[in-house]
């Protein structure tokens, strides 16, 4: 059986400023809906994209956020969120993913708001996505969050 293979669709969004996530997240939600995810699931994709994009701007210096829509293998398919940045690697991933902590340990609650977040971003990415991967790159790092259709 020779099915016409549709190549995955890829959209790349550069991330540099803190507010770039405000522009990227709604677009990610639209792509997720077009891909066939439910409204709720698409909203979860938007949150994951928002958290990852914010992190790139806050801690990763600069990078990009890629959305890959892959119909393979049908009928399921996968929506992949790829967050790549040129910043320093995450020293302790397990701690960094603990809510209220960054990669060096618990965040002083008094400094939480000053840092512009709750220290729960990576935790949210883990909770909301179906699969989470972290990889250190020669010039930065890459976080992958997958959503199965």
């Amino acid at each position: 059986m020779d099915e016409a293979r549709v190549r995955p669709r890829v959209r790349v969004f550069p991330v540099e400023h803190r507010n770039d996530s405000v522009l990227i997240a709604p677009q990610a939600r639209r792509l997720a809906r077009q891909f066939g995810l439910s409204a709720r699931r698409a909203a979860e994709v938007a949150i994951v994209v928002s958290e990852l994009a914010s992190n790139i701007a806050k801690h990763g210096v600069r990078g990009d956020l890629t959305i890959i829509l892959d119909d393979d293998p049908p009928p399921r398919g996968t929506l992949t969120v790829l967050a790549r940045d040129i910043g320093p690697p995450i020293k302790d991933l397990a701690t960094a993913m603990t809510d209220g902590c960054d990669d060096t340990g618990p965040i002083d609650p008094a400094l939480l708001l000053h840092r512009g977040g709750l220290g729960t971003g990576l935790g949210a990415v883990l909770r909301l996505s179906d699969r989470f991967d972290y990889q250190e790159l020669p010039e930065g790092k890459e976080i992958t969050a997958r959503f199965f259709r």
Binding site: H17, N19, V22, A39, I47, S50, E51, L118, T120, G121
Partner: protein, 229 residues
């Protein structure tokens, strides 16, 4: 073997001075004056060939310099345009931040915060800071936070959200959260959040009506007491 032409050419000193003068004009970019001098002499002798070649060379140099000046002007204009665009982007970024957390004083002492879009952990933290500051600044007695536009929140973000509502109480104001949808209701109960002191309403409209009724009743009681005196 090439034949070397060793015939001598003689010219008047004046003519040589002319060429030297032309050269000095060219050296200070006065190309027109230079060319005028070079084309002054009529005649077809060999020296004239040199003068003509020189004149052509200067003409081309003049064109080249003009082109460079034009390119430089274009580049400067381009640069100014880019700087202006960068400034616009900065202003737009600031506007985006402001617009994503609008706090409206619907009437005296009543603030309304309609939340739309994507609420991630950062936005939740920023909203809290802005709301609490505004409550103090405007001396508000009531804050209505409407989340009708929010489909989903991460559990920790939702947790923080409710903490924000309780913090409003600490400031002596009432906090009404309206527009909680079934999905978020589930999220909130799953994390076992304490909703003491946080009033919830189905819609923004219900919240406003509720507040109006409360205020009326309060005014009526006050009025009633006054009549008594």
């Amino acid at each position: 073997m090439a034949e070397i032409d060793d015939t001598e050419v003689s010219i008047r000193s004046e003519r040589l001075q002319n060429v030297i003068q032309a050269l000095s004009y060219a050296s200070v970019d006065e190309f027109e004056s230079c060319i005028i001098l070079l084309e002054k002499n009529e005649g077809e002798d060999e020296f004239k060939e040199l003068e003509t070649a020189f004149a052509i060379f200067v003409q081309e140099l003049s064109e080249a310099k003009k082109e460079v000046a034009r390119a430089l002007t274009r580049a400067e204009a381009s640069n100014r345009e880019l700087e202006a665009k960068l400034e616009t982007i900065e202003m737009q970024q600031a506007a985006i931040r402001e617009l994503s957390t609008p706090i409206i004083e619907v009437w005296a002492g009543v603030l309304c915060l309609p939340v739309v879009g994507v609420v991630d952990s950062q936005r939740s933290a920023e909203m809290t800071e802005t709301l609490l500051e505004t409550i103090v600044a405007k001396q508000a007695r009531t804050a209505i936070v409407d989340i009708t536009g929010i489909d989903v929140m991460d559990t920790k973000t939702a947790d923080h959200f409710i903490k924000m509502a309780r913090a409003v109480r600490l400031l002596g104001a009432e906090c009404i959260v309206s527009g909680i949808n079934p999905g978020i209701a589930q999220t909130l109960t799953h994390i076992g959040v304490d909703l003491t002191g946080v009033r919830t309403m189905r819609s923004l409209r219900d919240a406003l009506q509720f507040h109006l009724k409360e205020t009326e009743q309060l005014a009526a009681t006050h009025h009633g007491r006054k009549d008594h005196l």
